[in-house]
Amino acid sequence: MSTRRGERAIELVLFLCALLSVGTTAGIITVLAVETFAFFREVPLLEFLTGTEWTPLFANPQFGVLPLLIGTTMVSAIAMAVAVPSGLLSAIYLSEYAPDGVRRVVKPVLEVLAGVPTVVYGFFALTFVTPLLQQWLPGLSGFNALSPGIVMGLMILPLVSSLSEDAMRAVPRGLREGAYALGATRMQTAVQVVVPAAFSGITAAVILAVSRAIGETMIVAIAAGQQPRFTANPFVPIETMTAYIVQVSLGDTPQGTLEYRTIFAVGMLLFLMTFALNLVSTWLRGRFREEYN
C-alpha cells in the first residue's frame, strides 16, 4: 500500500516540474502585463503604436515605438536577406548532394557557428565588419544597421540550414526516385520536387529564424547604436527594441517610474511578435509532419 502511495507522490512531483514550464509562460505574461498596464495608464496606446518619436529619457518625453520597431525590422530584414538564401542553398547541398565525409566536417562547424555567443558576434560586427564595409561605403557611420544585420545573418544561417535540411530529409525517397526516373538531374529534383514537398517545413524554419532575428540583442546593442530614428537608411545609427531594453537596464532607472515601465511595454510588444511567429512555425511543422508520417 505504501509503495503505491509513494509512486503516486513521485508522479505528482514529476508532474509539477513539467507544469513549471506553463508557469514560466504565465510568469512572463503576468510580469509583462502588470507593468505594461501601468505604462498605458499614463501613455495612450495609440500614441505608443503610431508615434514616430521615441525619447522617453528626455525632459519632454515622447513614447512612439515606431522608430524602435523600424530599427528591429530593418536589421532583421538584412539578416534574413543573408541567412535565407545561403541557409537554403547549404541545406539543399547537405541534404541532396554532400557525400558523408563532407557532411561530417560541415555540420559540426555549422554547430560551432550557431554556438558562438552573441556578444562575440557583436564585437566582430563593430571592430571588423563595419570598418571593412566603410572601405567600400564611405557614407557608412561607425554604428549602423547594415553591419550587425549581415553578422546576424551569419549567426542565423545554421538555424535555417539545419531545420530546412531536416525538412528535406523527411521527404520520402520515392518522390526523388520518381523524378530521377523521369530523367531529372539532381538540381531539378532538389528544386522542383524536394523543396516544394518540404515547403511547409522550410517555411517553419524561416519563420523561426525571423523570430530569432527580432529577439537578438547583443549584436545590435553593440554595433547598431543607441539612437532611435524613424528611418529606413541602413547606414546611420539606429536602435532596436532589444537594444533599448539593454540601454535602460544599464542605467539605474528606479522601479515604478515611467522610464522603468517602458522596457516592459517594449518587451511585451517583442514577446507578442515572437510568440505569434513561434506559434505559426510550430503549427506549420506539425502540418508538415502529418503529411509524411
Partner: protein, 291 residues
Amino acid sequence: MAVTLASSPSSVGRRRADLLFQGAALLVLVMALAALAVLVATVWEDGASRLDWKFLTSFPSRRAEDAGIYHAIVGSFYVIVLTAALALPIGVAAATYLEEYGGRSPLARFIELNIANLAAVPSIIYGLLGLGLFVRAMGMGRSVLSGAATLALLALPVVILSTREALRTVPSSIREGSYALGATKWQTIWYQVLPMSLPGILTGLILALSRAIGETAPLITIGALTYIPFAPDSLWSPFTVLPIQIFNWVSRPQVAFKANAAAGILVLLTLLLTMNAIAIVLRDRYQRKGR
C-alpha cells in the same frame, strides 16, 4: 508534383546547371566557414597579446592595461554551477513525466507545445521575467541566485527536449524486463531507464549550459553589474559574468579596452570549446554503447 524538363533542352546543359548549382552551394558553405575563421583570427590578433596570467587573476580597473577578468570568471562559474543545479533535476523530472507518464493526454500535449514555444522566446524576455519575478517580487535582489534562476528557466526547454530524446532511446524491452521482475514503474525508471540515458542527458545539459554561459542580455536586464571590484562569495552577492565584462569593454571608445574585450572573448571561447568537446566525447561514447 510535375517535373518540367522542357526548360532545359540538352542533357549537357542540364548537367552544367547542376554543377553550377552545386558550386554555388559549396561556395556558400566555404564562405560561412571562412567567416568563422576570420572571426577567430580577428579576436586572436586583437587579444592574444593581452592574454596572460595577470589578466586572468586581476580585478577590473579604470586603466585598461591593469584590468583583468578574475571577478568575471568566478561570477560565471558561480552562475553556471547554480544554473546546472537548478535546471538538471527539474528538467529531468519534467522530461520523465512527459515521456514515461504523460502519454498522449491533452494536458501533456499542451505542456509540450508550451515548451516548444518557450524554447524560442528571446532570452531578453527571460531577463524581464527575472527582473520582475526574482529581483523585485521575490526580493532576491541583483544576486547570483537571481541570475542563475533566470538562466535555469532559459535552459530548461533545451534540457527537457534533450532528456526526452535520451529517454526515448532506451528500448522498451528493458522496461518490460524490469516490470517482469516485479519492479514498480518508478523503480524501473530510477534503476534502469535513467542510468541508461544518463550520457544523453548530460550531453544535453552541457550544450544548454554552454549556451547559458555566453548569455549576456538576460543578465544585463536583471541588473548584473558591469563594474564590481570583487568576486562573488555567496548566493546573495552582486556579480558580473564574462560576457557582460566583454560587453562593457567593447562599449568603451578606447582601443586598449577593445584588446581587453578580445582577450576576454578568447577565454570565453576556450571555455565553450572545452564544454563542447566534453559533450562530443560523451555523445560518442553513448552512441557506441547504444549499438
